[in-house]
Amino acid sequence: MSNAFNLWVGGAAGDGIASCGETFIKICARLGLHAYAYNSYQSVIRGGHVLFQTSVGPEKVWTQSDDCDILIALNQDTIDRESRDARKGVLFNADRFKLEDNSLRPGARSLGLPIFKLSPNPLMQNTVALGALMKLTGLPFETLANLLRETFKKKGEQIQEANVQVAKSGYDYAAQNFPDLGISIPTGSKRRLIMSGNQAYAVGALAAGCKFYSAYPMTPASSIMHYLAPKGPRYGMVFKQAEDEIAALNMAIGAGHAGVRAMTGTSGGGFSLMTEAVGLAAMIEAPVVIVEVQRGGPSTGLPTKTEQGDLFQVLGASQGEYPKIVIAPLTLEDAFYTTAEAFNLAEKYQCPVIILSDLLLSEHQETVDGLDLNVKIDRGVWAKPKENGDEFKRYLDTDTGVSPRAIPGQEGMAYVAGSDEHDEKGELISDVATDPHTRNKMMNKRMRKMEYAARDLKPPILEGPKDAELTLVGWGSSYNMMKRMMTAFNQNGQNRINILPLRTIWPFPWKEVSEVLYRSRKAMIMEANYTAQMARLIRQETGFFIPHRWLKYDGEPFYPGSTYQKIEEVLKA
């Protein structure tokens, strides 16, 4: 479906699969190529089967592929499982593993490397393989050599050169012993950034002036913490590992209330623990940003696998009714800009903002053309002492529902923020038996903020031909596959499919979604869960029933082959 080159690296956890695959995509990003990588792994530190799937090419690469051109197999298990998925050849350690010719695809080559001969240290088998790969793909060896030098910079020149030497021996061996596989990847001159979704969230937080991040480790959200923990002391962000997710969010609320931009991040299980505090933030009108990275549920579920099963948990979190904003970014760029925007929204509307991500979006790596770290900062409205007479009303009932804020330490505005229902001054009315008037007023004030927030959020945009035969609806990481499908189906100016990606989740953009869906010729939802949660939300908010469903809950991402087939079927139906 495109002229991308696909490399898979497989082995057991601990074999250095990710670093091998990451080195390759980094080389490609430096050579002006686009890259996409998805690591299929399990929740074990050593062993298991890990498959790092990369696709690179001169044009935008949207997703991973169904098969690969070259497989680097780092153990026998990978040879046995994946060899038939390699179109051109399988690189492996010929001293330790065996590849039978009949386990190859017709035309594919067995590319055994005599590692003991090529490397003084068998642990460097990945580096030998990367050297050979440079030869097989025709990519410049120097780019690999430079990257190895950078990687081992701290270890001194001797180690640096030893690694380059080992890579070179792989390169030379391939030159002398392997046939030309007919692979050519046209490189370009624009160096691209390569990052993961979680890194995009983390960088977005730094750019937006987030000064407090608290979290409890949980896959697949932990890499946000891993990026921010060392960066905090460099850019002035306090990082606090909390004793649990309840504490993580409550700490972030305390920090947000005290006047700094604060964020926490977790997965569905941790978010379950946070829910009570989400309502607290809304009730005391403290700004806070929460990143919820979904993984396979229920319960501990599939800790290292993707899913989009937490939509209703996020929408229904915490008792009662309260204002909140939920955004589910679509791409890495969107992940970055959404985070920056989330801090503005949290402070403008003084409410919790939830960024709903999924494992695939958060953990896959992709090239990004560029990010503008010089983001807009809007801290909302602030009170001045004695502005409204002597008495400070922290929860002043205004047209927009937003009350000017004050923070502890400021002169003349001391007030109490209460999780009980309170009046404009913040005084509790929960124990006053009959004050329905104040209750209604305060409830209306808080909920009114969402009418204004709704106008502030980007409406969904229908992409592709307006009158396409089929409208594909999806959210989160599904977007990239939807894009890929649109390109595939609409070749040569055809009008077969258009796509409606949903990014703003709450307040739900029911008007815009209705306009698109009630006009569509055929509609299909594509999401990674069992019960089509987004389709159900759409029905709840617009009355529109999406008849066709492409759902997946096995933990692996959507793949292009089967998705293509499903769309074909629906188009024919």
Partner: protein, 313 residues
């Protein structure tokens, strides 16, 4: 474009702590809010509130520089009656909220107030972790050995055998020992007081607030409505002051022994104080390098932006 994009925090007025020299002298009444406490007449919490107001005025603190954080319970209503910045949060979650606020603005004097159910029951996990972090926080627990607000169920400090609404045949669990728990968790200031001794309570509270590090003040604060056993009289017959008996608060094992003294004689006062341990804020690398987060500029300089992006090339 200038090197520094955002010069300020975007706040129109950055919270600055009033220097001691500029403090106007305040009386305990200055710490009274307009809201009248809704506790039952003679509830022990009245004594705690007045003692806290006395302590703050004695220390010359300004209401604006204090943040009082509570959970949920009768006792947790205290911030509403105490004229400082206040937060009345969730049942059992006051400590993490206070931790976040303190880390955001270490210049604030942060006081946490709540009940034994709040702190030693639902919130005991946070208690242990907050104690071991040694942030400069003062935690005042109104320990009435019962759940007051929910009308009289057993709490984590209700004694064995005591009959309550939820233990009609008597408690069969061993109660939490807050003093010992705080001590083994690494608390640097552990004290106990009694609402029937308001002057002593105010003195101990002042010491606790002055202590640099985490301080626990467990207050016997009788629930006159639901605890008919641990009454004012019950305590009056038993309590004595450690400082009158030559107790050395620097001595950890002595403090530990005193923590287990219960029955005929119950000690009040400062059990333990260790001034040698640095606070969390003093060790946090970001706070050390940048000062209070709340006072920092927002946004990155061009140099910082480039440096971050370089990491992805």
């Amino acid at each position: 474009m200038s090197e520094v994009k955002q010069e300020t925090t975007h706040l129109f007025c950055v919270p600055e702590r009033t220097p001691l020299s500029e403090h106007k002298p305040l009386t305990p009444t200055d710490f009274k809010s307009d809201v009248k406490p809704d506790w039952c007449p003679s509830c022990g919490d009245f004594g705690v509130l007045t003692s806290l107001q006395k302590a703050c005025s004695a220390l010359g603190l300004q209401p604006k520089d204090i943040l009082t954080v509570s959970g949920i319970g009768c006792s947790s209503n205290l911030p509403g009656f105490f004229k400082t910045y206040g937060m009345h949060t969730l049942h059992g979650r006051a400590l993490p909220v206070a931790t976040g606020a303190k880390l955001a603005n270490p210049d604030l004097t942060v006081i946490i107030t709540g009940g034994d159910g709040d702190g030693y029951g639902i919130g005991v996990g946070h208690f242990l972790h907050t104690v071991r972090r040694n942030l400069d926080l003062t935690y005042i627990v109104m320990d009435n050995q019962i759940y007051g607000l929910t009308t009289g169920q057993a709490s984590a400090t209700t004694e064995k055998g005591v009959k309550t609404k939820s233990t009609p045949e008597g408690v069969i669990e061993t109660p939490v020992n807050p003093m010992a728990l705080a001590l083994v968790s690494g608390a640097t200031f552990v004290a106990r007081t009694f609402s029937g001794e308001p002057n002593h309570m105010a003195e101990v509270m002042a010491k606790a607030i002055q202590h640099k590090g985490f301080s626990l003040v467990d207050c016997f604060s009788p629930c006159v409505t639901y605890n008919k056993i641990n009454t004012y009289t019950w305590f009056k017959q038993r309590v004595y002051k450690l400082e009158e008996k030559g107790h050395d608060p620097k001595n950890f094992s002595q403090a530990m022994t005193k923590a287990f003294e219960w029955g005929e004689h119950i000690p009040l006062g400062v059990f333990y104080e260790n001034t040698e341990v640095p606070t969390y804020e003093d060790l946090d690398p970001t706070i050390q390098r940048f000062g209070p987060a709340v006072k920092q500029r927002l946004g990155l300089t061009e140099k910082e932006q480039a440096e971050i992006l370089e990491g992805f090339l």
